[in-house]
Symmetry: C2
């Protein structure tokens, strides 16, 4: 694969106007500091004539966010046809129009407030479809890919590196990160990738999903619903996330930092092809914090 082939299809845009701003404050010495902070703005989503939700987002890719949200909430089905996605930047409104009417209204009745960086709407029928999904048995993840992916993602110029306080999700194939989305809400970053996959008719069977956030039940459910067989995070696990991953046959890799990681479900897809002794620990300058991640050195204690 040539160098060109390994470039991102969508990469973060840390310098795009509107996604961050510079504010002035003071540091521990009382000295004036200028610091960049990420944008957080409301975006109200309509499906046809029905108002669905107002999301807090950095504001990029509103069309993909809208489609991915509806898709991950099971409000758009495989055979739905989107006739138009209309974004009004002044009103902070995005409208998704479909050719036929949709049956979202009763689903709005059944909301669940989810954990962590989740937005609180896992609908009852999302879980109902969960057990019907068969993830690819043939998918693999080599440890050499895992190390290459995390290193590449951590060193890619991003809003995270420029301003902090933002989540990232990356759709990957083998050792190549394809689509890297960022957002103040991790759920938004996931949804933007789901929107991109729907728009491009992307096959999930050979993909790897990387997230900076924790491996909670919601994260596992979304990955399974997207049909992706492998989920990787720098951060840690919840017990229910592990349970659901095992139930769905999802490969669940967490605490992936430098050469370290822990796999708690679906280890059959993991190929140990890298020499761990040769693998890098993360240099401090490349070190990216996880979301409410594990205490430093913790992996060492538990790996003995």
């Amino acid at each position: 694969m040539s160098e060109t082939d390994k470039s991102y299809m969508i990469a973060p845009r840390p310098d795009e106007a509107g996604l961050s701003s510079t504010v002035t404050g003071f540091d521990q010495n009382g000295a004036t500091v200028e610091t960049r902070v990420v944008t957080e703005r409301p975006l109200t989503l309509y499906l046809n004539r029905q108002e669905i939700v107002t999301m807090m987002t950095i504001g990029d890719h509103p069309d993909l966010l809208a489609i991915g949200y509806l898709r991950n909430q099971n409000m758009l089905h495989d055979d739905d046809v989107i006739s138009e996605v209309e974004f009004d930047e002044e009103l902070d409104v995005v409208v998704v129009r479909t050719e036929r009417d949709t049956d979202y209204e009763e689903k709005l009745q059944k909301k669940v407030r989810t954990s962590g960086c989740a937005q609180g709407t896992v609908f009852g029928d999302v879980m109902a479809g969960f057990d019907d999904i068969a993830l690819s048995e043939n998918a693999v993840i080599k440890t050499s890919w895992l190390y290459a992916l995390t290193k590449r993602i951590n060193t890619t110029p991003s809003l995270y590196l420029a301003a902090g306080a933002i989540h990232g999700c990356v759709l990957c194939q083998a050792d190549r990160p394809l689509v890297y989305m960022e957002d103040v809400g991790r759920h938004n970053a996931v949804d933007k990738i789901a929107g991109w996959m729907w728009r491009t008719n992307c096959d999930p069977a050979d993909k790897i999903f990387y997230t900076t956030g924790r491996l909670t039940s919601e994260m596992v459910i979304k990955t399974v619903m997207m049909g992706i067989p492998i989920l990787v995070s720098r951060s840690g696990f919840t017990a229910w996330g592990v349970d659901l991953a095992r139930r769905a046959g999802l490969t669940l890799i967490g605490r992936a930092r430098g050469k370290r990681f822990v796999v708690l479900a679906g280890e059959k897809r993991l190929e140990f092809d890298a020499d761990v002794g040769q693998a890098d620990d993360e240099p401090v300058r490349q070190r990216r914090k996880g979301s409410v991640s594990d205490p430093a050195g913790k992996e060492d204690e538990h790996a003995k």
Copy 2:
């Protein structure tokens, strides 16, 4: 103040049964590892006969979580009287009963999906009350307190240190942490503290609120609505969080790690009494990651 006076009123309970469990997996060498993961379970909240929300929580303090949630959503007012809080552990249900009827129904219409570790329900009338709140002008935070608090919190035995992947919020007074709540959802940790404050009739005017999570709009709104004048985090900021803090006169301190921090609003309450040269950097073993925090060394770059 004696050592006893400095003990927590409520501290984390890392060894309490049910809050975490041990699961078996594999590490980067293919070796079997046993690792602790935090619990994540649903809790459905009723206010009188109305189902309000299902939350994902570790499960401790369901009564305080329920009250704090209703309080932070403006569903309970100052003059409401709670006649009973009933928790059914088998059904994962908590019911809050009030002496008079409550007017939550129309509020349920206006939900906003919030950023980050937020749960998606900031109601319209929460923001409506925001501008009416006058935070204490007399409150102060000394840098020596800030250093003492963060060091104490980071070294307190917690589910975070035992299992990772969990948020913490701490209500503090001067250099003393009073109430330290943890949860898989940061919003739940905040709400449990709000519930404790309501139950104990706690005066917010001289309190400091510490969170491991980011300083988003929702975090700022909740702190202001709780009447607490000072908000501190290890993690970073969003632009709207900074705007709202300035509008409310809230003191907003972020990226507080070791001797470093940045204050972006309400700096008038900050007293620089510590010798920064003498203050500790965080030892690696005490280092606690922020939630989607700032890249290592970033503060240095921007403080020049």
